[in-house]
Amino acid sequence: MFYDVIVIGAGLAGLMAAEAAQEKGARVLILARGMGSLPLTTGCIDGLGYFPSSSPVPVSSPLTALGRFRDFHPQHPYSKLGQARILSALNRFRDLARSGEIPYAGEFDSNFLIPTALGTFHPTCLVPETMKNGLLSLPGRVLLLGFEGLKDFSSCLAEQNLNLLQAQGRIAPSFRAENLASPGWGEKPVNGLNLARAFDEQEFRDRFVRQVQPLLKGGEKLGLPAVLGLRLSYQAWTDLQKKLGTEIFEIPLPPPSIPGLRLYTLLRSHLQGKGVRTIIGLSVLKPVTEAGGIKGLILGESRKSPLYRASAYVLATGKFVGGGLDAQPNRVFETLFDLPVQYPRNRKAWFNTQLLTPAGQPFNSFGVEVDEALQPVDPAGKVVYRNLFAAGGILAHADSMAEKSGGGVAVATGYAAGELAAACAEK
């Protein structure tokens, strides 16, 4: 079982790395513990929302901000990649999503503000087309519609908070809230997944249109929780807009996120079509190393457990949530290769006393140090394994939570690491 590139992790970074490597002609295997963090995300690609992260005003253009970014954050993954590589990765992502019928709107050179389920706004730069009509710079009147039983979207709460922002002059549109009665599914719970599956069906959509029509006032847009279809979201959204004769947009909800799940499904099936093999659901993965490099990875614990080998490896296992990092009361470590991680010894310095501060939490930017070729390095700056690359959340110095840069960092570093790993495998 020999591959050119093995990617560890099936989040956005890992999947983009696999894509880049297979585009270069590499034989690629993805090994992952679970389905990755995409279903925990909004499905939007955040570029850079705040810079400096403590600024109260969102960045208007991530691309322009990156010009100065390097001086402030020389170790940030964006600074290591440079503009050209970031842009080519994001363009490739957009083409890929479009070909899978999840077209995205937006550019890396301008930020949108989109509404959230809580009635706050979130800055981002690439959004699924199904969300683009909700941009908070667009004036107009919006009907927010909730579903009885869908507990993570309260149209009332969102309406109150968004109208407050409107009254403060921070966003353009005004909002009104209504709720639709429960679809009456009996034992089947009303949740994002079940609603999304229902919206894939023409019959459910037609019934929905009949229920909504009398609620809509002339000239109102319709804002809905992000549950409009799982496999056929673009089609469902187009169909609903046509039949209701108005603009519709989705609003991201807390996880599990349907737009994130859509993106995961799209990327997985695209890669499968390109011959990339994926093994998911591993509980035990053990590295075998040899003189300065990774020899292979053993799956499982028995003596017969197979050894998977490749010429190059991409580590995209994420931060603590993804399982790439873990911690004991006084120690932070990388879970697969025990790569060097820099962190303060005193646990008190891992956190700020305040939770919600624009300064972010120090532990969110803990991770693996890499060089400009995204290769993990030791504190002296020496490459740890000649055939290992890292991408996404596992990289140190990016606090994607505070910066609002998660998707962008994952796509850009994932794609670059995949290319670099394929080039390394060729040698």
């Binding site: 925990l40 995300t41 909004t42 955040d46 929302g49 705040y50 109260p56 969102p58 959230t116 389920a117 809580l118 706050t120 706004f121 979130h122 800055p123 039983g149 869908l150 507990k151 993570d152 309260s154 009332c156 709460l157 109150q160 908070n161 407050l164 429960s182 009996g186 034992e187 719970p189 009303v190 949740n191 991201p252 807390p254 996880p255 931060k319 603590f320 949530v321 399982g323 873990d326 911690a327 004991q328 009361p329 646990r347 008190k348 891992w350 956190f351 006393t353 305040q354 939770l355 919600l356 501060t357 624009p358 972010g360 939490q361 532990f363 969110n364 939570m401 505070a402 609002k404 998660g406």
Partner: protein, 511 residues
């Protein structure tokens, strides 16, 4: 407003006195500056002491505990889990202590019985095999929130009046006699004037401050105790270390969780105590002596309470040597302020006795002879009250096919239950809703259900429009204080996910 007795402090002592007064037909009001049970009464182990812990050093306290232990098991059964308790001696503990302990228990009437270590290990396999001796006592687990609520509710039913969020700001006296007090509504700023002949100062750690308002003197020593909530009920029995009381030597099982405590640190920080990283590390390293997996079990929260202790002058150094007994002070005798009584110290287990003594004294002062009924009369609890049991909850929910109704997945609390509780709460905070329903008490500590609860408060008009984010933010910052000291392993993962929700998605760090 006019009343006979104004009770200050909505903790266990104040609530117990409030009930006792009502049962004896004395007109009373209860004033609390925050929510009921928001002070030390809601920040402890939830341990129904057998008295064993005090038997050797403080036999009077031990005697009171065992008496009250059996009374509470009768009158407050639905909020007690009769787990029984064990005192375990490890090789690191003084070898002579178990014999001292047995003798002391016998002397004051605590049924303590030595049991065989292999039997104990068979029943409680999580305990350390290093244990050398084991002694069984009648400890239990008690839910202070329900206990206090039942006391307050019975008094209300009897016509007494209770006022949460009213902070006493002045006490009026005339010629050395109590005339009344002024309290401020901590939410609206509105002042409430109360005319009364008697004031009971049951303000706990704030008792000194209240006494000073009346020109009286009362010295209270503050001792902070920190505790950790573990996410697994590793033992079904209250576990004590058989040694002179020290750090991290008690585990109390509560529903699906296990609480490890405590520390004892002199403190001046009484308003909003929190556990430090050092205390957490100390508790776990001590706790591991009794339950070796305690240190690797997921901790979901750490919190702290401040004990108001009396007898400062006798104690030097460790506040544990100060009596955990209580002091009832008739300021009429001491400094000549007639009608003012302070009741300080004591324990949750002895709250009823403290109330009885206090009200006896007030009755004497009034010249009334009405016997106390609180030891016989059961507290009122809703019929279906039982300890929070996830198994039967899930049964009920799946039987009704109402999965969409679950607002808190960790503790299986439904929308209907929350709505029912909201009926009794005119101005609820998220914390109150939590304490009453257990929503948000599980592994994610309200990370996922608090926006849903906030939405429910907004939808039912319980909070004014435009305040929801402030309500949510306040709750999250309070929650953070409890999770921050225990963040590593699984709980750090959980916390990063919570950050992804509130900072990354909702952008609350910038709004």
């Amino acid at each position: 407003m006019k009343t006979e007795v104004a009770v200050i402090g909505g903790g266990a002592t104040g609530a117990g006195i409030f009930r006792d007064l009502a049962l004896r037909g004395i007109d009373a009001i209860l004033l609390e500056k925050k929510e009921f049970t928001s002070g030390t009464s809601g920040r402890n182990h939830g341990l129904l002491h057998s008295g064993g812990r005090y038997a050797v050093k403080d036999p009077d306290s031990g005697r009171e505990c065992i008496r009250e232990n059996s009374i509470l098991k009768r009158i407050a059964a639905p909020c007690i889990e009769d787990t029984g308790g064990l005192f375990l001696s490890t090789p690191q503990d003084p070898p002579e202590y178990p014999d001292l302990f047995l003798k002391a228990c016998e002397k004051i009437g605590i049924p303590a019985e030595e049991v065989s270590v292999p039997d104990v290990l068979q029943k409680e396999p999580a305990l350390s095999p290093q244990i050398v001796r084991a002694i069984r006592v009648p400890d239990g687990a008690i839910d202070p929130f329900r206990l206090i609520r039942a006391n307050v509710e019975e008094a209300l039913r009897l016509g007494a009046r209770a006022f949460p969020y009213r902070e006493v700001i002045a006490i009026q006296t005339e010629g050395g006699v109590i005339r009344g007090l002024t309290a401020k509504d901590t939410r609206t700023g509105e002042e409430l004037r109360v005319e009364c002949r008697f004031i009971v100062n049951a303000a706990g750690v704030w008792a000194g401050k209240i006494a000073r308002m009346a020109g009286a003197r009362l010295e209270v020593v503050f001792s902070k105790g920190s505790l950790i909530v573990l996410n697994q009920r590793l033992v079904n029995t209250v576990i004590n270390r058989c040694r002179p009381p020290s750090n991290g030597d008690i585990f109390v099982p509560h529903g699906p969780a296990l609480i490890l405590g405590t520390t004892s640190l002199a403190t001046e920080e009484i308003e909003d105590p929190s556990a430090s990283e050092e205390e957490v590390d100390l508790l776990l390293s001590e706790g591991e002596r009794l339950i070796p997996v305690a240190g690797v079990t997921r901790a979901i929260r750490a919190y702290a309470g401040v004990r108001p202790l009396i007898g400062a002058r006798e104690a030097e150094g460790d506040a544990r040597t100060i009596s955990r007994d209580f002091l009832l002070l008739n300021h009429g005798d001491a400094v000549g302020i007639k009608g003012l009584f302070s009741i300080v110290g004591g324990k949750l287990t002895t709250y009823r006795l403290m109330a009885e003594r206090t009200v006896d004294t007030i009755c004497k002062e009034m010249g009334k002879i009405v016997p106390c009924a609180t030891a016989e009369k059961s507290l009122p609890f809703p019929r279906e009250y039982s300890f929070h049991d996830l198994g039967s909850r899930l049964d009920r929910i799946s039987g009704a096919g109402s999965y969409s109704e679950i607002l808190c997945e960790c503790e299986l609390v439904t929308r209907g239950e929350v709505l029912e509780e909201l009926k009794n709460l005119p101005f609820p905070t998220l914390k109150e809703v939590q304490e009453r329903t257990r929503a948000g008490m599980g592994p994610c500590q309200g990370g996922f259900c608090s926006p849903r609860l906030t939405a429910l408060l907004a939808e039912t008009g319980k909070i004014p429009p435009g305040t929801s984010l402030a309500v949510l933010r306040k709750f999250l910052e309070e929650r953070w204080k409890g999770t921050r000291p225990i963040l590593w392993g699984p709980q750090l993962k959980e916390e990063q996910l919570i950050q992804a929700l509130y900072s990354e998605l909702f952008n609350l760090d910038h709004l």
